[in-house]
Symmetry: D2
Subunit: 430 residues, 4 copies
């Protein structure tokens, strides 16, 4: 296995933190034991947890106003995989990468797969792109793609999605995630019913070509880039489209794609209850689709989402939705953000495992809201950092991934090896 961070450095770093970690882990283990929780069992689950990183996430993000590039940004899918391998090596929670086509289209899929293999990286859900026009593209998506009023545009968008699936098959992916920017900026611009009917018709055509072991994930969003209406604006529309399309067509929940104040954990429950919860794009937000780092704004909400997921998995242990980080790293080193965020999601997951579900069910059944909420808080208030650190340590990752990464000088090496791409300027779009 190729590893870009020197293992001696990693070992030295871990060594300096090991004794403190063991002390903390032991103390936590004793505390949990008093509640009849076996810390080792939790640790095994923590080690088994994984979440995909998006290939585009290792580049610096931006806004319509500006993009401020970082140093040594990856210039192609191979350099992106290099960065992803560093994230996985240190965090040991991100073994798969999600590609965006055409951004990441390789000239030779086999070569790409082998390149990933050397790092032990797999390919998660494939993402199509019909929200931008590409050079030499026949029809423009300015007024929609899968929902466009013109059959020719819809056909082009459908063909692109089918093409992405074909590529994904060669790479070992098992899912297609579809997000469209289709919508309108003015009352009257679109006929709501027709647009949605065309959406459903289009995804049915894509679904018809889907391999039997693949899922199709529909991503909804309340606004942006369309600002008056979006064709698949909420989980209700997502559910209806998935339901109309077929069994393996499922809804994907992006935490930042909802109206203000909406109870997202309830949406998680509803979609699961009706068999349509397929996956997540994790991030955090304060205002809109801010694409901030997962758990950075409201970590309790992230815990509540996992509280639902753990509840669902109690009933159906084999249930395993797609998890991906979907964040825009505008002011941080993307590698650092992705390592930290993966651990934040893992933290929420681990805490959800510590909820005393028997007690919770009792308090729910007997209408004791005080103790029901206290039961959740009892788990949430625990400091599970020792479990996360031990999981990484035992998996040959870093106890403190960011410190180790900074010490490694990886970014500085990239800055030298990857001169700035002059086509990726900092000018925004207003």
């Amino acid at each position: 296995m190729t590893q870009l961070i020197n293992n001696d450095l990693l070992g030295t770093q871990n060594q300096s933190l090991e004794s403190g970690l063991k002390s903390d882990y032991t103390a936590l283990g004793e505390k949990l034991a008093r509640s009849d929780i076996n810390i080792e069992a939790i640790l095994q689950k923590a080690k088994a947890f994984s979440i995909a990183v998006p290939s585009w996430g290792v580049g610096t993000g931006g806004t319509r106003f500006a993009r401020f590039p970082g140093q040594g940004e990856p210039r192609n899918i191979y350099e992106k995989l290099d960065d992803c391998s560093v994230i996985q090596q240190l965090s040991q929670a991100t073994p798969a990468v999600s590609l965006h086509i055409p951004w990441d289209r390789p000239s030779d899929p086999n070569e790409l797969r082998q390149y990933a293999d050397q790092y032990g990286l797999m390919f998660d859900a494939m993402n199509s792109n019909t929200f931008q026009d590409q050079a030499n593209q026949e029809n423009s998506y300015k007024y929609g793609s899968l929902t466009h009023t013109s059959q020719a545009v819809r056909d082009q968008a459908i063909a692109h999605n089918i093409d992405v699936v074909e590529l994904g098959q060669k790479l070992g992916s098992k899912a297609l995630t579809i997000w469209v920017g289709d919508g309108s900026n003015f009352p009257g611009q679109q006929h709501f019913k027709n647009s949605f009917a065309q959406y459903i018709d289009s995804i049915k055509q894509i679904y018809a070509t889907l391999p039997n072991d693949w899922n199709m994930l529909l991503e909804h969003k309340i606004f942006e880039p369309a600002f008056y209406s979006t064709v698949i604006q909420d989980w209700g529309s997502s559910y209806l489209a998935a339901k109309e399309t077929g069994e393996r067509c499922l809804s994907l929940v992006d935490l930042g794609h909802h109206a203000p104040n909406v109870n997202i954990e309830m949406i998680v429950s509803r979609l699961a209850q009706f068999g349509k919860l397929g996956g997540f794009h994790f991030n955090d937000s304060k205002y809109g689709d801010d694409d901030l780092d997962s758990g950075s704004i409201n970590p309790y909400q992230l815990f509540l989402v996992f509280n639902e997921l753990t509840d669902i998995q109690l009933e159906n242990p084999s249930y395993s939705p797609f998890y991906m980080l979907d964040q825009s790293h505008n002011v941080t080193d993307p590698i650092e953000s992705l390592m930290y965020s993966a651990a934040e999601v893992q933290r929420a997951y681990v805490k959800s495992l510590l909820v005393d579900r028997k007690a919770l069910a009792h308090y729910q059944q007997t209408n004791d809201p005080m103790m029901a909420q206290a039961t959740l808080k009892q788990a949430y208030n625990l400091d599970v950092e020792p479990i996360l650190q031990m999981a990484r340590f035992q998996s040959n990752g870093a106890i403190d991934p960011i410190a180790c990464y900074r010490e490694s000088g990886y970014r500085q090496q990239c800055a030298q090896a990857r001169p700035v791409d002059p086509n990726k300027t900092g000018s925004g779009i207003i």
Copy 2:
């Protein structure tokens, strides 16, 4: 027909405004004729428009902080009908009243029906109430009603709804509207899946007893009185419940029950597209479920809702959802607010009839958002007040209902005839 406003007064008032109205009406007619619109056809539709008033709407509303009673408030369902008859006499747009049980439960339904008959009033959808505890009620709804964890509580709530339907049949109603306050105030308090499953199970039991010519309307709401989660929080949950329950179980849209920024007109379209749009509770809001007067905050949104409805009715002329005003009149004379609001809804409806739909469809099809929105605005910017006034005038209502009402002294007569009910104090609930 009994009429509580003196017809001579009404005639005198109208006479003083008639010449101005005719001048305005003629000018508008000529203007519309230039766009090939026949004002008389529009007038006939305006005259045929009707919207129900809620019996509880004729009392002064309040907030959890306080209620400031008005003068001469109705003390029982008979006095409420008196007030409703005044609204209908002057506005000629509100021939039906929607009852709330047990608030309006009559000792003798036949007597009540005859009382309404004398005014030419009918009974619209019946409303059940399981969000409050009633005196001598066996089980409390503190922790839920149709979704309660206890079978006994659910049974009680189901029985109440069935009882309301039976009463409604005697009164000539044709629909049951179900709104529950069920939800939770704390993360963990309720099991989302179980609560929703119990909701669906309960409404199925009610539905099973529904007369064949009745509809059941499910009302969703994002928050209040529950502040962390509500069992039927949005149109997605409402759709699922209605779909599971049966063909005549439909969703009802209250304009104030959505998350901030949500595109309500699109929800209207979605529910109609999937055959589940059953009715509306009209009001307006700036923040939450403010229950402000319809069209008082965002009249263009009201127009856009009717733009959808008119579009739906073009395709299916017999489509006729239930319309009701659902407002809390905290600072106005409720009779005035209801007359004014009925006209505001009617205004939005009439303007939606003036949209050049052939042009709109063309601009939508050819992706001309500027002209598509301009087509809507062209209709919206018209002053259709002459049509509304003429519709009332020709139907023996008042050209200026509020001026006529004030001149009549009706409220002052009520103030004398209806001494304040000492049980209805102004103290709030905090």
Copy 3:
């Protein structure tokens, strides 16, 4: 000192938890010591922390739809003080009570003060009430109080506030909190400028009578009970009013009184920077002014508020704003909610003390957002429950206040001793 919870019971309960607590506390102490933090110093600050409880908070709250009374609710200010003494006895964090006048007006202030003294309770900020009409009140507040267009109404509201201050002086209070429901439900209803000018004029008159050692706290709120506009809608208006009025007139921040998505911790910073941050009403919310239990929805936000406060106090150690819990306990035992919430606020405070501020300042100065946020999270992710428990234990409170309270049977005794007040029914105001 009178204590309503049996001290033997308390002792027995604590004894059963003491060994686990000591083990957790020692482990945490060792962990903190590795970061050069002395747990004992933190413990002393935790023990010194206090937050007032509102007298009205010990009664069950409700909404405009309904109130579902709990058992044994206090029927007067004396019984409310009994309940507050239990909260303080067990939580040891709530030594002061905030009164609401006229709800809590005693016939003999001295007697009330002595009654509180026996429990060791003090009186925090006094709250006036001009958002409700009282029996035998000359002028109605239906259309405003301190901002009413009528001088007579304004004078009545001013006189009430002055009266409340006089009463507060007799009780040992040092502050007056003013919240008005004044505002409008319709565009056009109020003249914005005139209303605000009248507000400022009115509070100046109250301020002129304020004792020299008193503060006046202005509470703003974006909506409810007024739904189109409120006279003092946000911190900008609050600041302007406080600035115009005088040095001891300050702004009070209620966590639930802001527009969606607003960054409240930044408002805390702004008001402090300009010398106008006077106090807090703590609660939590998901939608509007939900008045949910503090920290129950977004505990990280509560931590961020205290992160600002601790930062301010570093610069100005004597700075001490007024803290009060302001919650509506609709579904829980209010005593339980207030004990739990006091601890949640205390938890946020204690965590804020653990932030490595030197490191934070460095990361802020060098624009290292990743490590800046990680520095906050490092403190936030710690489990400080042992410190909170030890603080209570050493102060003769309960290690587990709710378990001890339930064991005591206090609520059952109240249920017997306090038969239901027939005037406090469950009927709501819609």
Copy 4:
């Protein structure tokens, strides 16, 4: 005067609409006369109304996801002025252009001024840009500009603003508008107090160099491009900064820069009451800073803003804030959007002139909310299109600007004369 739209075409178009216009205008005049309003006086005010267009508004806008260029987009400030001249020629409401530096920096300011002069165009407020990095810029604005922790970065941003003022003086501008993207994406990233203190310090330095007849306008924004906090996030911060800085430093209100649900017309009133309302950026929005066309989503809100402005101007007739359209035209021809939007703003202004202010004041004073709101609606519901059309017609503009523009073929000519700039691709920033 150079005119790019053929005047014969304009005349022919107008001729075809003239008779209908005169008929409508006469009918409206008669109707208004019945309310003692002289339509000619209103017409004169409508003709005197003007609003600036932003130079960047004539290019197609985009989002972080994509930009879909239109045909014949202007490639430099001269071509932008060509387009602005067309807008002014046809709409006769946009005689001034607002520049953005460095985007629009001319090599020779005098030449630019003369170029504008030929079209009768003036230069409105100048806009500086410190939210993007420019080629060859010494310091990056990635972590702030006027508020950066580094003195060097702040000095660079200050110098840029001073430079913009110098350029503006040569062009005849009289104001500098400052908007910064400064803020943070993570809790802890910025020290709120220090950032704001640095902001105030920086703008004071700019203000110190401001010509005596210039104003400085501070633009606040709740979020984007910073997603956790922005340094000047709301009108409260804007007021404080303007107040600290000096008399000619004023606040600018952009309609899309507020938290959800916020009452913007009240902010207008507050800032005016305290002497700090300097200007507006007009646009509309449904979700965030959508930058949609003015009045396209909530035209009643736009009317309510002008209702405040007209009220202020009654008291102070010489009061004249800066008005500018600030919109992102992503799916329309920008020239069409700007012409249509200018008319929508003008429409709101004209309707605000028709409010019976004597009646309104009476209803406000006597607390008659029904008639107060009806007084606003009476004006709002009028169809003032004939006044807008007549204003354009009498000023030699187009009765129907969009029809005339389309007929002229101007865009097609541009498409030929302005081949696509290959540097302005459609790729977005995610």
